[in-house]
Symmetry: C2
Subunit: 349 residues, 2 copies
DNA sequence: CTGAAAGCGCTTACAG
DNA sequence: CTGAAAGCGCTTACAG
């Protein structure tokens, strides 16, 4: 079968004996023509199989695509399988969908050095989780709307969670029962990649580079309040928030002899905490009797289990909604700070 | 500050005293001009802040956007938080990214009756999990490439998992230890929405409408092999694969008196099985001694826990990769069937 | 309420 | 190796 040339707005106009402007108006500005004529046009369009104005042409003409891109810090593979990033995306998607916009997924960790050309089709960019390289950032259309989430881009609005307050709150709760050997498990805190114990030799990322720094500051405040010298608290670092990466870092901690093993693990993510929980269960360590564990994020997986995870919930979905509203101009572009909620579960009552 | 008009390829050509064709070639067909000239053009582009050919114009001109859309059966909010859909998406994203393409997310359950206009910008569509309404399907560009996953669209290639064989295998394994009271917990099997016990009064969806039907057929085969009349096995149905929806259906099952409570739960998803596991743990029921549970999917959450879930793993990531390769034409468009792997965990040894 | 015309920013045969 | 020109399919002031 020969594919007949796709029908265009112009064809339709010719067929009907009206101008292209009128057909365009029938689809885009119903108030610009009589209902009867509009009916006639729409009817004929349907009959001829015309599906409405071509999006590519329209976007070139109007300069807007009604596509919003989210630029994720990690690979799409990682991000899509991460509960926190997924929640964020679903918040974004919810608002975009309601506004007739559409979601394009981009990653700053991609195979190419530049974003694919199609990326520049987006009307706006939500940058999530990490500062992309300056080169990448510059490859975006210069006049594009930009909103950052979980980090700052100079001169752009940013959505943040009050990480320091959150961590201070959960550490306060945990320290209310004095631990003998508290420990902290960080997420991407060191300047150089490190999956293991953090020593004084390790340089740490700055507060402007990672929200992890604020989380640590919150822990330190609570420790200091309790008269514990933070410098005495052993710390570990983890580079990727997955079971596969967490497990080999955590296992040796749990395998320490009983009198060296931490009895409180302040973890910077639920994934870390849940991995610790699983490893503890496999070893027959009792939680919370032998080991108390706290997380961060409040993902479903930590709550819909027994024992339930003690954690602090950040509303990633709402974070995504806020970013989306801002990028669409439904909300004035202004940085904002989301509060968190302490959730006391069974892993650290 | 006044925003100067964005610089175009034409401006750049004028500035350099060459034709637009040459500038275009400098970006798109390096072999069409001398390296020296190309260098000069690229250098000047950089100096003037020209970011390369505009994607909107290019897509209109070439007819291709290098955007591939995935149409998800459920809402984006649900899909992004579902481990199986997320895995599928990450497989798609992996291939697209490697090929310089970009991923657009669409849902057949959206607020609007039609896809947003921008949807039609995509070069191809991967339809995942469910037949969209005919109206929606027809709103897609008629000549667009289309691949289905986990269901069939007439005349289009589809990627499937061998659901029947998988379910037969896991049920066989489970039934090797004869249960006293086996039960089946289905996912979206009934014609009308139903969260609860399935009675003879319930009409079931047909095999061409849902893969659930094949899963059930696999269970039935294994039961029949063991001399158990499938009609005697009580069944429940669940509409949405989330803890919130599963829990109220499962709780009453676990709360049955000991001599009525099933001692084997064949579940159609890991989410259902994990919810059953959590509820059992909360009730002090011993798994597998008092209750054996099997799942379907092989999601990480079921494996990185103690006790580990007995399930059958489908490689959703690979499913996504295959769909992506096919839509990009890297693979001939032909339907295919993925095999699964029985994973024996602690929930049903 | 309707139409003629310009132009969004490119790419691509084609001619030289 | 390079350039002049057509045209992808629309929307939008503008004039009537």
């Amino acid at each position: 079968m020969s594919t007949p040339r796709r029908i265009t707005l112009k064809d339709l106009a010719r067929e009907l004996g009206v101008s292209t402007a009128t057909v365009s108006n029938a689809f885009n500005r119903p108030d610009q023509l009589s209902p009867a004529l509009r009916e006639r046009i729409l009817g004929e369009a349907k009959r001829l199989g015309y599906r409405g104005p071509d999006a590519k042409a329209r976007s070139l003409r109007t300069g807007r695509s009604r596509i919003i891109a989210v630029i994720l810090a990690e690979s799409l593979t990682y991000s899509l399988n991460d509960a926190v990033a997924s929640e964020f995306l679903s918040g974004v998607a919810e608002v975009l969908d309601a506004q007739g916009h559409t979601l394009l997924l981009l990653s700053s960790r991609q195979t190419q050095a530049q974003f694919p050309g199609s990326a520049s089709m987006a009307d706006g960019f939500i940058v999530y989780g990490l500062m992309p390289s300056p080169t990448l950032l510059e490859s975006l259309p210069s006049q594009a709307a930009l909103v950052a989430a979980d980090f700052d881009i100079e001169g752009r609005p940013a959505i943040h969670v009050d990480n320091e307050a959150a961590c201070q709150a959960i550490a306060r709760h945990a320290l209310a029962t004095p631990p003998r050997r508290p420990a902290i498990v960080n997420l991407r805190l060191t300047a150089e990649p490190c999956n293991g114990r953090i020593t004084p030799a390790h340089a740490l990322l700055g507060a402007e580079q990672t929200i992890t720094r604020s989380r640590l500051a919150g822990f330190y405040r609570a420790l200091a309040e309790r008269g514990i010298d933070p410098a005495e608290v052993p710390m570990w670092n983890i580079e990727e928030n997955t079971f596969e990466v967490c497990a080999p870092v955590l296992a040796p901690i749990l395998d320490l002899p009983g009198d060296e093993r931490p009895d409180l693990l302040l973890c910077m993510s639920d994934r870390i905490a849940l991995t610790a929980l699983t490893l503890a269960e496999q070893r027959g360590l009792r939680v919370p009797e032998d080991l108390r564990i706290t997380g961060f994020d409040g993902i479903a997986e930590g709550q819909y289990r027994a024992p339930r995870l003690t954690t602090v919930r950040q509303d990633s979905t709402e974070k995504g909604r806020m970013a989306a509203r801002m990028i669409l101009g439904l909300t004035p572009p202004a940085s904002s700070l989301l509060t968190t909620e302490l959730m006391v579960g069974d892993s650290c009552p």
